[in-house]
Amino acid sequence: MAELLLKNITMKFGGLLAVDNLDLEVPSGKILSLIGPNGAGKTTVFNLITGVYKPTEGTITYNGKTLNGLHSNKVVSRGIARTFQNIRLFNSMTVLENVQVGLHCRTKSGAIRALLNTPFLVREEKEIEDKAMAVLEFLGLESFRNDYASNLDYGNQRRLEIARALATKPGTLLLDEPAAGMNPKETADLMDLILKIRDTGLDIFLVEHDMRLVMGISDMITVLDYGQKIAEGTPKEIQNNETVIEAYLGSGGKK
């Protein structure tokens, strides 16, 4: 069963058609990549899925239930987590705290419990710390736990974003250009990491310009140009697709 399903999605910003009648399916346990030239509408697709924008038309369903009209935080608690193209960490919080924020939607003690410091809260806080540490260990960030997020180097900041997203215990992870600004070594590590995450049973929806990464790990690729799906297929099929090559060359060269 397909987990995340987009049907006839259209998004208009005023007169600009950012996404045009898009059908898309993120298959279970697989890595789907969304590629396309700058301004093709990739980030917009992520924003539509996560409820940042409301689609002008179309429906988005997850595990059979519609996501349309939900607040972003509800989309996250339904099991869809994401990272951002421009890193958005909580800079004055520590690495550990950043990940702990991700656990917010999986825990429940409220203000009253906090004020009274009830045993339930104490237990839950301990649990939050343990789980956050486990996520940090999974990503190899545990030694930075008490550093401020802004002090991490670029590659680790991207990792921390993934850590925070994973802390929400998602079923599907959306990654928006996770390799942007990384050096080849970091990109290679990232590749292993994404595969490792997929192997824990998550579906991965990846937006990326780095073709080596995309071709190396994707099970399926969808190509977007001016908001329209122009091609779909396995990495091999996409590499030899005339329309795709044209779209990339036509918009200022291959990346």
Binding site: R88, H104, S109, A114
Partner: protein
């Protein structure tokens, strides 16, 4: 560089003169030249001081000076931080307990005011410091508390302790009423709306004669009372002890303040506190990390309002009197000053600032008319010299200095 500073100095002095001389000089119909020029002189002197500091900084003298002072500074700091925080807290508590016994009535009264401001500052700190929402009408919630107690006690004879939870409920409701329509607003807009809300509450109290007795205010509320069992020859009886003496009221205020400190600290360290800070840092990222930002912002308003409401009820009970003029806009400003001066998000900072801001006006009573002016100047100076506040919260400090570094890199 120095030249442009000099130019700035003269322009500012000039415009301050235009503002201050007539404002201060014409206390009556005649122009009081010595007074006007003295006040202006003080401000020019402050500006000059700033100029001198700037010049020294530029000439590198400041750097040498601060470099040579750095080891001493570090030594002092190490010594201070070597003592665990709990000893400071114990010392402070001991001082607070001995204080009313070692001083006179007047000072105990100042002490109570100070404790009230501590609670207000900490409550507002939840809204401003943790959740990052500006609130210029905070004193309205204090008014809600004061009037809840007054009306409930006068009309229905409900005792203080039962009025407190009811007052908290009213405070929460008021917090949600102001919070809900402003959820999508930020910065300036939020400031204006909250300021308007504060004024609406005050005007309502002023004009709803039937309920609130208008500007005359309400009086005659019972003092808080302690009820405890006692064994007399007739068996077990309940004794009511009204907290009438100033000392008793002081200890009640102290208890409220201590509970507030503990409560705010617990909130700060819980998942709720982390979510608030996350919202302050990046609301979109917080929402997309699964934090229900709308709900948490509302919660910040409601909880901040609750603390103000409790201490408002106490205030009305202490005086057995309340009137709308206790809740003017200036009071909101003072509380906000306490938060900013102390260090946004920092509990010890708020305590220190509350002490300073409630003690200083008492010391300089003659200067009362210039209180706002002095606050404004202090705030401006603070923003320039130490934006993170007297005792900065670690998080906040990082944030500001990161921004500074960024600027340096850009320029």
């Amino acid at each position: 560089m120095v030249q442009s500073d000099l130019k700035k100095f003269f322009t500012y002095s000039f415009f301050l003169g235009i503002l201050i001389l007539p404002l201060v000089g014409f206390a009556t119909t005649t122009f009081d030249a010595p007074r006007a020029f003295t006040v202006w002189g003080v401000f020019v002197a402050i500006l000059a001081f700033g100029l001198i500091i700037k010049v020294i900084r530029h000439s590198g003298g400041y750097k040498n000076l601060s470099d040579s002072l750095a080891p001493i500074h570090k030594q002092i700091k190490d010594k201070l931080t070597a003592v665990p925080a709990k000893y400071y807290i114990l010392a402070l508590l001991a001082f607070a307990v001995i204080y009313p016994m070692a001083t006179n009535r007047y000072l105990v009264d100042v002490g109570i005011t100070c404790l009230i401001y501590i609670v207000l500052g900490l409550g507002l700190n939840i809204v401003v410091g943790l959740a990052g929402l500006l609130d210029l009408g905070y004193i309205a919630f204090y008014a809600v508390g004061a009037y809840s107690y007054s009306l409930l006690n006068l009309n229905f004879g409900i005792p203080f302790w039962f009025c407190i939870p009811i007052g908290i409920a009213f405070g929460c409701i008021a917090g949600c009423i102001i919070g809900y329509p402003t959820l999508k607003m930020r910065g300036d807009y939020l400031a204006i709306v909250t300021m308007g809300f504060g004024e609406i509450i005050r005007l309502m109290l002023n004009n709803w004669d039937k309920l609130t007795a208008g500007p005359n205010g309400l009086y005659g509320m019972a003092k808080p009372a302690l009820v405890y069992p006692s064994i007399t020859d007739g068996g077990l009886t309940w004794v009511t002890f009204h907290l009438k003496s100033l000392e008793a009221l002081y200890f009640l205020a102290l208890a409220i303040a201590v509970l507030t400190v503990v409560g705010v600290r617990r909130l700060d360290r819980s998942r709720i506190g982390r979510a608030w800070v996350a919202i302050r840092e990046d609301e979109v990222a917080a929402e997309l990390s699964g934090v229900p930002t709308m709900w948490l912002k509302l919660l910040a308003y409601a909880l901040g309002a609750s603390f103000a409401s409790v201490v408002g009820g106490f205030f009305a009970a202490k005086l057995s009197y309340t009137n709308p003029n206790f809740f003017i806009f200036m009071e909101s400003c003072i509380v906000l000053c306490i938060v900013v001066l102390g260090g946004v998000g920092s509990t010890p900072g708020v305590i220190v600032a509350a002490v300073i801001l409630s003690a200083v006006p008492e010391i300089f009573r003659e200067l009362q008319n210039y209180r706002m002016l002095a606050f404004g100047a202090a705030m401006a100076a603070m923003m320039v010299l130490r934006p993170e506040g007297l005792i900065p919260a670690t998080r906040r400090k990082r944030e500001l200095h990161a921004a500074e570094q960024h600027q340096h890199e850009e320029s």
